[in-house]
């Protein structure tokens, strides 16, 4: 049992048709993600990293191959795989507490349990004072905290994050990265995190999966051996930054 990965990606190819012409968004991807891992998918736009994440979420189906969660094929979105979108996707008519309690309530948990879960996760992301606020009254960073809390409150086993901090300012991003690592360490979550920022990937990941374009594919899969908490100004961190930059052929 211990050998079964939490999520396995087996020979997955995804083709879209764009103006009638087929486009290969992802070709022959293989990947195994074990429970508790923090994996970053990194690559330029068009490398299929978001497509891969969306297939793990069940929002897209592979053209070839399969994705399995604990050995069972992924066919549709489900509460075991929580998704955090870059544009938040919060329900504007619900308060912070309402959004966080949405999943448990929708799945028919008892009222008292929903209230207790909501309270706990509102507190976990530090929004107790804003529990009654509506999304349009929140900053981007606060909205993303709500989005993270609502998948955690829903007992998601695997958290899929699609460039979740990409739209935030640098300071907010750093705070959220730190908070996310704290939550991850505390809850033993499994995270797949899509980003195009090398530094973000090195800061967060146990493993970095490097992807490339034309067609979108996985080109490398490397563990990040740096001890945590990681210092982005250390020489080791810089060495890794240079290593991955060279691999991505960019000039970060």
């Amino acid at each position: 049992m211990a050998d079964i990965p939490l999520l396995s990606v087996e020979g997955v190819t995804k083709r879209f048709s764009f103006n009638g012409a087929p486009i290969t968004a992802l070709e022959g991807a293989n990947l195994a993600i074990r429970k508790g891992e923090f994996v970053c998918l990194i690559g330029p736009s068009g490398c299929g990293k978001s497509t891969l994440l969306r297939m793990a979420g069940g929002f897209e189906t592979p053209s070839e191959g399969a994705l399995r969660m604990w050995g069972a094929p992924v066919t549709a979105p489900g509460p075991d795989r929580g998704m955090v979108f870059q544009d938040y996707g919060l329900f504007p008519w619900l308060t912070v507490a309402g959004n966080i309690g949405f999943g448990p309530a929708a799945r028919g948990r008892p009222r008292a349990e929903v209230a207790e879960t909501t309270r706990r996760f509102v507190e976990m992301v530090g929004l107790t004072r804003f529990a009654g606020a509506y999304p349009h009254q929140l900053s981007g960073g606060m909205k993303q905290r709500v989005a993270i809390a609502r998948v955690l409150a829903n007992e998601a086993e695997l958290v899929l994050m699609d460039e979740p901090f990409g739209a935030l300012d640098a300071m907010t991003r750093e705070n959220l990265q730190r908070e996310l690592l704290e939550i991850w360490a505390r809850t033993k979550l499994t995270v797949i995190f899509v980003t195009h920022a090398i530094e973000e990937a090195i800061l967060l990941a146990d493993r970095i999966v490097v992807m490339s374009t034309n067609p979108g594919r996985i080109v490398a899969d490397e563990a990040v051996a740096l001890p945590r908490p990681r210092d982005p100004t250390s020489p080791e961190f810089n060495a890794l930054r240079r290593h991955f930059s060279a691999m991505l052929g960019s000039h970060h």
């Binding site: 489900g78 509460p79 998704m83 996707g89 008519w93 999943g103 929708a106 799945r107 349009h136 829903n154």
Partner: protein
């Protein structure tokens, strides 16, 4: 704070006061004027409401006429909402219904409500039922069109969010579509109620005995222009009050929406 409020009130009142002044100056003291001066209209409005000035057929009947119009406006409006809301949701959500009904409804939409008047009188007879029907028709389309728009324009991301949080496909309508389309639906209701007030006067031209539209038409034939204007003022005030009511309701229900809250 108070100065600011005073400024707002002053600005809002300036135009009507200037208009009253212009009206007064151009009509008062001219025996041949076809339009009565504002003071005379004021006196008539008082008589219409409370009696004691002319003591004629119209004295003290305002409440009765207003009640007749209000009940037709709200009756027709509520019936329109009861039909247009579910229909709009079905058209918006179910492709088969959309393809079957939308072309017909769109073809009938440009026909002005007033053009239905002769037909309504044939079908529903001369009387309040025709008025009721026209109000219904006037309110129906704004509610329908906005409901369809609201239901069809729910942000796709919200469906994904609901699905990954474990909302079953059968619950998506109540948990996502309905709340997400409330602002649009509300806009439709507000427009519909506004149209209901526009149409009521035409509707009550069909030979009904009571109603503000009815006395306006009757007074026109009797050349009692001050009653015509009094009726117009009453409709203006009632329409304004009913819109304010709906808006207050909207602000309460749609506190979450940046456009309404």
């Amino acid at each position: 704070m108070d100065a600011a409020r005073l400024r707002v009130a002053g600005l809002a009142l300036a135009a009507p006061l200037l208009f009253l002044l212009f009206w007064h100056v151009s009509t008062a003291g001219r025996s041949f004027s076809l339009i009565p001066p504002p003071l005379e209209v004021g006196r008539q409005l008082w008589d219409l409401a409370f009696g004691g000035v002319w003591d004629d057929l119209y004295s003290g009947t305002l409440a009765e006429h207003a009640f007749a119009s209000v009940s037709r406006v709200y009756g027709g409006f509520l019936l329109a909402a009861a039909c247009a809301l579910p229909l709009g949701m079905l058209i918006g959500r179910i492709r088969l219904v959309r393809e079957a009904l939308d072309p017909t409804l769109q073809l009938m939409r440009p026909i002005p409500v007033t053009a239905w008047l002769p037909l309504a009188m044939i079908v529903f007879g001369i009387g309040p039922r025709s008025a009721f029907f026209l109000v219904f028709l006037g309110a129906f389309y704004p509610i329908l069109v906005n409901t369809i728009f609201g239901v069809r324009n729910v942000e796709g991301r919200l469906f994904e969010a609901a699905a990954m949080l474990g909302v079953s496909p059968s619950a998506v309508f109540w948990k996502v579509v309905l709340p997400a389309s409330l602002p649009s639906i509300f806009t439709g209701l507000r427009l519909g109620l506004g149209f209901a007030w526009v149409v009521i006067v035409v509707g009550e031209m069909t030979g009904v005995q009571t109603g503000l539209g009815a006395i306006i038409m009757e007074a026109r034939q009797l050349s009692r222009t001050e009653i015509v204007i009094s009726g117009m003022i009453a409709i203006g005030l009632l329409g304004y009050a009913s819109d304010a009511l709906v808006q207050a309701l909207g602000r309460r229900l749609l506190r979450w929406s940046p456009q309404h809250g």
